[in-house]
């Protein structure tokens, strides 16, 4: 008995050493393989991310050429309470409210419509999801043409707002919202379609036999069973909507954005950085956007944990 345990103990020590060196080799290999990705992330994501926090602490004088100086946390409150920032935040919130619910509802309706076994339905699925692969620039130019007061679709329909839609403080933001909704529709459609694949047909058939009409099946079965998917789409498109920039930049431009109440947050950040040459204030606004995105992501992760209950 004693002999046996001594033998085992001695063997275990040498085995431990062997295991440790093997684990070291494995970790070395793992980091070697990770290195290219880490380098790319480090240069383009982690470093700028950390640098952003440093920028918040420095103020750049309005006169070009003078060096930035350390001000600590002192420019945070003035930046966050400036009308420029608060107005931009309100604009962004309005924009999010205009864009997100509509793109989700339309995406869901299109997904439900395309979720049937019909000949040629794949073509519709392709069309519905195609907006995902169209670039912001192309979409903006196309919509810009449609909204053109002379050659566009609106005058052809007899609608002629004055000043023209994209130069009109009432219509500029909704017009950009429409383009963004159109752009988001593909993503929303794809997410909802993927979610629908996971709702078993038999459940809807059972509900049908149990007496549920099409509307009840949609509301009482499809929507609750899709709720994790819908929530995911909600969070993702809210984050995207907070980060919208291209359409405003291309269609409205920096001279008009603020006047037309279309200066969404990212636009304001870029404007503050480039036009006003104020990296400190821009960094503070970027941090606010980061915190909003972080909050939404945490919400989504918590919900994903609860979603386990729906799985069989």
């Amino acid at each position: 008995m004693t002999v046996a345990s001594v033998g085992v103990g001695g063997g275990a020590t040498s085995r431990d050493t062997a295991r440790r060196s093997r684990r070291l080799r494995e970790m070395g290999l793992a980091y070697l393989l990770l290195a290219p990705a880490l380098l790319a992330f480090g240069v383009f994501t982690f470093y700028p991310f950390l640098r952003n926090f440093k920028l918040m602490l420095y103020e750049t004088p309005p006169v070009p050429g003078l060096p930035a100086h350390y001000v600590g946390l002192h420019q945070i409150v003035p930046t966050l309470t400036s009308t420029q920032f608060t107005q931009s935040l309100v604009t962004t919130l309005i924009f999010v409210v205009l864009v997100v619910p509509l793109s989700l509802v339309l995406g869901l309706l299109l997904a439900v419509a395309a979720h049937r076994r019909l000949k040629g339905i794949a073509i519709y699925r392709m069309i519905f999801s195609s907006t995902v692969v169209s670039s912001v620039a192309v979409a903006s130019v196309v919509f810009g043409t449609l909204l053109n007061p002379v050659v566009g679709l609106l005058p052809w329909l007899g609608i002629n707002p004055s000043p023209p839609a994209l130069e009109n403080s009432t219509w500029a933001l909704p017009a950009v919202a429409v383009i963004t909704i159109w752009q988001f529709l593909g993503l929303s459609f794809i997410i909802m379609s993927a979610g629908l694949q996971s709702v078993p047909d038999e459940l809807l058939e059972a509900a049908q036999i149990d007496g549920a009409g099409a509307w009840t099946r949609f509301w009482r079965m499809t929507v609750p069973l899709l709720s994790p998917t819908i929530f995911f789409a909600l969070v993702v498109s809210t984050i995207y909507a907070f980060q919208s920039f291209g359409a405003v930049d291309i269609l409205i431009g920096y001279q008009n954005a603020a006047n037309l109440h279309a200066n969404v947050l990212i636009y304001e950040i870029v404007n503050t950085l480039q036009m006003e040459n104020n990296p400190g204030a821009a960094a503070i606004m970027a941090t606010v956007l980061f915190l909003i995105t972080l909050g939404l992501t945490l919400l989504q992760m918590r919900f994903l944990e609860r979603r386990v209950h729906y799985a069989n």
Binding site: E202, L203, A206, I209
Partner: protein
């Protein structure tokens, strides 16, 4: 309560025919089992009654009313799915209550009905659980409760036992039969399991490749299969089918000449047959016996405890399975053996070689 009738019902999916000219009547209160291997059209037939598929040709009636154009929700049928199809986001109580809610039943009445169905199926302690918190057997009972709570005209059951383990399946089989006979609700029960079919059905309808092969009570189906498909499908192992030819024996008697021997025909079968036939012999009608009329080589001997299957090959390569009682002598693979046939005339089945249909009584 209602009878269900298929009249010349055909269902096509594109170019393939899932159900081909099905004519079948299920009596009021009857439990009819649709039996067949997978892809034979039995589930499609069930879904046609439910209204989940549209009939291509023919009519389906429930209680004398043609339902071809009637919406599933207005057919007054309840279905138990193979996967149970419980609503995962609703509690057990809400699952059972769902069909009643859709009918706009008052709350007190709903609660009372749910309670009654739950007690019947022993679910009253589980009403607040979600389906994901239940075992397979419990889920199966919730699916049954959701079907019976509505008091429908017809139950449709699509392989409801196939996801249960063997012991639970035997128990639930008996429970469903008892429940059905107490409620005496017309029931269409789909299965590929012949033991389920034999033990549960008032009658069994055997289907193959979309075509109804035979409808009969279990004992008739087993004793007088209408064709070689039914003969080979029912029984475990199924009936031995040996190609043969009618010949003249001694004393003016008739025989069937098969590979490995010649079998005298009983008087009842003499006039029925001529030319090429298929001789059907159930394994339990055969014994290893050196004096028997058939000769074959033993290939495999399977010991099952209660019985032994001796799998033999006749000179032309046909397979012949003999079911030996456990105490009988066991031949070894490679032995040449004689095989005797039960003297009961009902032990011999004859089928026409061309049409595969049964000959004689």
């Amino acid at each position: 309560m209602a009878e269900v009738s298929f009249a010349g019902v055909t269902k096509r999916f594109g170019d393939s025919v899932a159900v081909d000219g099905l004519t079948l009547d299920i009596g009021d209160g009857e439990l009819l089992v649709l039996l067949g291997s997978s892809g034979c059209g039995k589930t499609t037939a069930l879904r046609l009654v439910a209204g989940l598929e549209e009939v291509s040709e023919g009519t389906i009636s429930i209680g004398g009313r043609v339902v071809n154009e009637i919406d599933p929700k207005d057919r007054d049928v309840a279905m138990v799915f193979q996967s149970y199809a419980l609503y995962p986001h609703l509690s057990v109580a809400r699952n059972i209550e769902f069909p009643l809610r859709q009918r706009g039943m008052a709350k007190e009445e709903r609660t009372a009905k749910v309670k009654e169905a739950a007690v019947t199926l022993g679910l009253d302690a589980l009403l607040d659980r979600k389906p994901s918190q239940l075992s397979g057997g419990q889920r199966q009972r919730v699916a049954l409760a959701r079907a019976i709570v509505r008091d429908p005209q017809v139950f449709l059951m699509d392989e409801p036992l196939s996801n249960l383990d063997a012991a639970l399946r035997v128990q639930t089989r008996a429970d469903i039969v008892a429940l059905q006979s107490r409620l005496s609700t017309t029931t269409l029960y789909v299965t590929h399991d012949q033991v389920e079919a034999m033990t549960m059905g008032d009658r069994i309808a055997v289907m193959s490749q979309g075509v109804l092969q035979q409808v009969a009570a279990p004992e008739d189906l087993y004793a007088r299969p209408a064709n070689t498909f039914v003969a080979g499908f029912l029984g475990s192992p199924g009936m031995n089918l040996l190609p043969g030819r009618i010949g003249r024996g001694v004393d003016d008697g008739f025989t069937v000449e098969v590979s490995g021997g010649s079998v005298p025909l009983p008087p009842a079968l003499r006039t029925a047959a001529a030319g090429l036939v298929v001789l059907g012999l159930r394994p339990e009608s055969l014994r290893i016996d050196p004096l028997g009329p058939l000769r074959a080589g033993v290939t495999i001997v399977e010991l099952l405890g209660a019985e032994t299957h001796v799998i033999c090959t006749t000179p032309d390569g046909s397979r012949l399975i003999v079911r030996q009682p456990p105490q009988a002598a066991k031949p070894a693979p490679g032995d040449q053996v004689g095989i005797a046939i039960d003297p009961d005339p009902a032990a011999l089945h004859l089928f026409d070689a061309a049409s595969t249909q049964r000959l004689g009584p």
